[in-house]
């Protein structure tokens, strides 16, 4: 496939549906009529050079930035433009940031407790008591991300890699339907990178996952459908080998 084929407007059988989304900052178009469709249960990698609009795309999906034009639907019917970040998170979209952001003054356990799915209102949390199931779930998550020993120490003292995993643990605690993961391998060793890609593939078995990355080796590891973004719109889509063969992609990545 040489050009991204115009998609049929069937938002209904998708988990995430973007159509003609445009965002501009002071005349600069960060996203330019971007259209994208993620099927339920799909693992998708988004690649593209710096400034291609990857992070802005995440911002638009999670409600941090409102698009100038275009449609964004979640699970086929929910208009994400009408919701703010908190509502979108409650709908079941989790986001991991490029730079790991955990609550540094809270213990690892508290970080997970805060992320745990549950009522999010102030009065609900004021009178909240941790149930036995929730405590078990936290212990289970601590085990998955390998931070059981650090559970009671402040998250601020963790190493970079540990913070990344804690963030992934928080994502899992949220029990989202769709995970948006921004450059999960940034700043990791090769072994850690490999482990992270394995973890993401495991997660993708029962979640829809969108991974933004520009480490090609990592994307190859993920072995999934790839979308190439350039200047705010889709340049190519397909398997990694397919898009790598695309002359326009080569041009964008290698320059003229």
């Amino acid at each position: 496939m040489t050009r991204p084929a115009p998609r049929p407007g069937n938002a209904s059988d998708s988990i995430l549906y973007l159509d003609g989304v445009t965002v501009s900052f002071d005349g600069f178009r960060a996203l330019n009529a971007l259209s994208l469709l993620i099927a339920p249960g799909e693992l998708r990698a988004i690649i593209g050079p710096n400034g291609a609009g990857k992070t802005t795309m995440m911002d638009v999906i999670t409600g941090k930035t409102k698009p100038d034009t275009g449609e964004i639907f979640f699970e086929g019917a929910i208009d994400l433009k009408a919701h703010d970040e908190a509502a979108i998170a409650q709908l079941g979209i989790g986001r991991k940031f490029q730079k790991p952001t955990v609550f540094e003054n809270h213990t690892v356990r508290d970080n997970l407790e805060l992320a745990l799915a549950g009522k999010r209102g102030p009065f609900a949390t004021l009178f909240h008591r941790l149930s036995a199931e929730d405590a078990d779930r936290i212990d289970q998550l601590l085990g998955i991300i390998g931070l059981a020993k650090s559970a009671e120490s402040p998250a601020g003292g963790l190493s970079h890699g540990q913070k990344q995993w804690l963030e992934i643990g928080m994502l899992l605690a949220q029990e989202p339907k769709l995970l948006l993961v921004d450059e999960p391998a940034a700043g990791m060793t090769d072994a850690e990178t490999a482990a992270t890609s394995e973890l993401l593939k495991a997660i993708a078995r029962d979640h829809s996952v969108v991974v933004v990355e520009h480490d090609m080796a990592f994307v190859r590891d993920l072995d999934c459908r790839v979308t190439v973004l350039h200047e705010g719109s889709v340049l190519a889509e397909g398997t990694l080998d397919q898009v790598s063969a695309e002359p326009r992609v080569v041009e964008v990545y290698l320059g003229r």
Partner: protein, 535 residues
């Protein structure tokens, strides 16, 4: 204007000396005013009028007001000021105060209505025909207000002689006003109404409103049309006056805020001691003026030109010291910066209070800053005008520094991406200090200007700090044009609200307006948008 009045006074004094030479003659004329029956008195009035001597106008006015008396002891005719049955006697020719006597010792010179008319005609004639154009103009104004038909004859005579265009216009207006009181035909009156409408001030309006109430038919219609036209015109002038007041307030706000636009807007440093920098600039002006007063007074008119660079240096250096000593340790902790600089402002205030005392210090206006300019119905005082000019000059200079100098380039580079700028070989620490120094120096300049219109006291700065922050936040942080627009908008809005709400309530309303505005647009009028802003 003031100089002119002084000249006028000198002229009157010069008049006084020849008057002495004519004294016996004049005294006889004055004495005649009190003699005989009403027709003799009328003749005497005309005799006085025939002299055309303005120094005798006061006697006629006193007579009309019933304040001319004959002293029983010697029969002299004198002007008297009555106060609770005591009468202070004044010589009508020399204006000397003679004595205070009981009401039994003098006899009032009686007048009737015929005499009153004769008096006002005589006074009108004497002043309308005066050789001094200002006296004529004044007289024409007073005839306009009284709209006395008796004066018509004199007005015509004066018009025939008049060579000064301004005075002629005044006389025409006075004649039109007087004509309306006669039984002239409709066309004449209509023309008169047109003349009055063209005059267009409050006096003209009240005349036409009175006419509208007293007349009927076509004349009433014409009066109503004229009055409406004047009202519209006055409304426009009123708006213009509000705008000038607003721009004037805006220029003060701009001056106070523009230094903050650098430190807060460009650097992102909250300097709560900004107002104290303004205050120190004002005190620098005070010290400069004191030094000039005691060592070389003739230099006083140029004191501001010495104070401007000095205030910039003093506050600039203090600013650099603050940045190096306190603020640089607190980058990235804006709330702590806010608290530390607030503490600093307390220390600076108290230091100035200890040095110069807690009371207001006298800072004088140079002579070239006093006076006022009138355009139509507008009055603009010179010092306000100079402050506007100065604030725009400071604004322009800052724009030039930011956009056209290498320092400005480095400054923008550091504020946009500190690490990158550092990597390019820019000494970021030095640029921080210089930028903060520049912002503080500009605050000092504002102090020089504000010393001309505000009380110079240790609390001077506190009055401006909240306003300045409001201006910068309202205009949009990091945008000097926004600061300019913000200052002018807030100034004008404030001055438009004042007549309806009063000064304090207007200020409260403006504050509430800004608070609500920031809810709507948290980044101000000229917001920057994009990913960098959020970081």
């Amino acid at each position: 204007m003031i100089r002119f009045l002084i000249l006028l006074l000198l002229g009157l004094l010069a008049w006084a000396s020849p008057a002495r030479a004519q004294e016996p003659d004049h005294r006889a004329l004055v004495a005649a005013l009190a003699e005989g029956g009403f027709s003799e008195k009328e003749a005497a009035i005309q005799a006085v009028a025939a002299t055309g001597d303005p120094s005798l106008v006061a006697v006629l006015e006193a007579m009309g007001d019933g304040a001319l008396y004959t002293r029983k002891s010697d029969g002299l005719v004198l002007i008297g000021e009555e106060d609770r049955r005591q009468i202070t006697l004044i010589d009508p020719l020399t204006r000397e105060t003679l004595e205070t006597v009981g009401s039994r010792e003098v006899e009032r010179v009686r007048v009737n209505n015929r005499l009153r008319r004769a008096l006002s005609a005589a006074i009108g004639a004497m002043t309308l025909l005066s050789p001094d154009p200002n006296v004529r103009s004044e007289a024409a104004q007073s005839v306009f207000r009284s709209a006395d038909p008796e004066a018509l004859e004199t007005l015509d005579e004066a018009l025939a002689r008049e060579s000064d265009d301004n005075v002629r216009a005044r006389l025409e207006q006075a004649r039109a006003a007087a004509l309306l009181e006669t039984d002239a035909d409709l066309e004449t009156k209509r023309a008169a109404i047109d003349v009055i409408t063209a005059r267009g001030d409050r006096d003209a309006l009240s005349l036409l409103v009175a006419l509208r109430a007293s007349s009927e038919g076509e004349l009433q219609e014409a009066a109503a049309t004229g009055a409406a036209a004047i009202e519209r015109r006055l409304k426009r002038w009123e708006i213009a006056q509000h705008i000038t007041y607003g721009i004037s307030l805006g220029s003060v706000l701009l001056l106070a805020a523009i230094g903050l636009a650098i430190t807060f807007g460009v650097m992102g440093v909250i300097n709560m001691a900004h107002g104290e920098m303004v205050m120190l600039g004002a005190y620098t002006t005070f010290v400069v003026q004191e030094a000039i007063r005691s060592y070389y007074p003739p230099l006083f008119d140029s004191s501001l030109f010495i104070a401007i660079p000095l205030a910039f240096l003093v506050t600039g250096i203090i600013g650099i010291a603050i940045e190096r000593g306190i603020i640089r340790w607190l980058y990235g902790r804006p709330l702590e910066t806010l608290l530390a600089t607030w503490g600093l402002s307390l220390v600076l205030q108290q230091a100035v209070r200890s040095l110069f005392g807690p009371t207001n210090r006298e800072v004088g206006n140079p002579s070239w800053m006093s006076g006022a300019i009138e355009i139509g119905a507008l009055t603009i005082t010179a010092n306000r005008l100079w402050i506007l000019v100065f604030s725009l000059a400071v604004f322009a200079a800052l724009m030039l520094i930011l956009k056209r100098t290498s320092f400005g380039l480095e400054m923008r580079a550091v504020t946009q991406n500190r690490q990158m700028a550092g990597a390019m070989g820019i000494r970021t620490g030095r640029i921080d200090a210089m930028t903060f120094g520049l912002g503080s120096g500009v605050a000092g300049l504002a102090g020089v200007a504000l010393s001309q219109i505000d009380n110079v006291s240790p609390n001077l700065g506190q009055g401006y700090i909240i306003d300045s922050f409001m201006v910068v936040v309202f205009g949009g942080v990091g945008n000097l044009w926004g600061t300019l627009t913000g200052a002018m908008t807030l100034g004008i809005v404030n001055k438009f609200l004042e007549p309806y709400a009063g000064a304090v309530l207007a200020k409260i309303l403006v504050l509430v307006f800004i608070i609500l505005f920031i809810q709507k647009r948290p980044r101000g009028l000229f917001a920057q948008r994009g990913r960098a802003v959020e970081a």
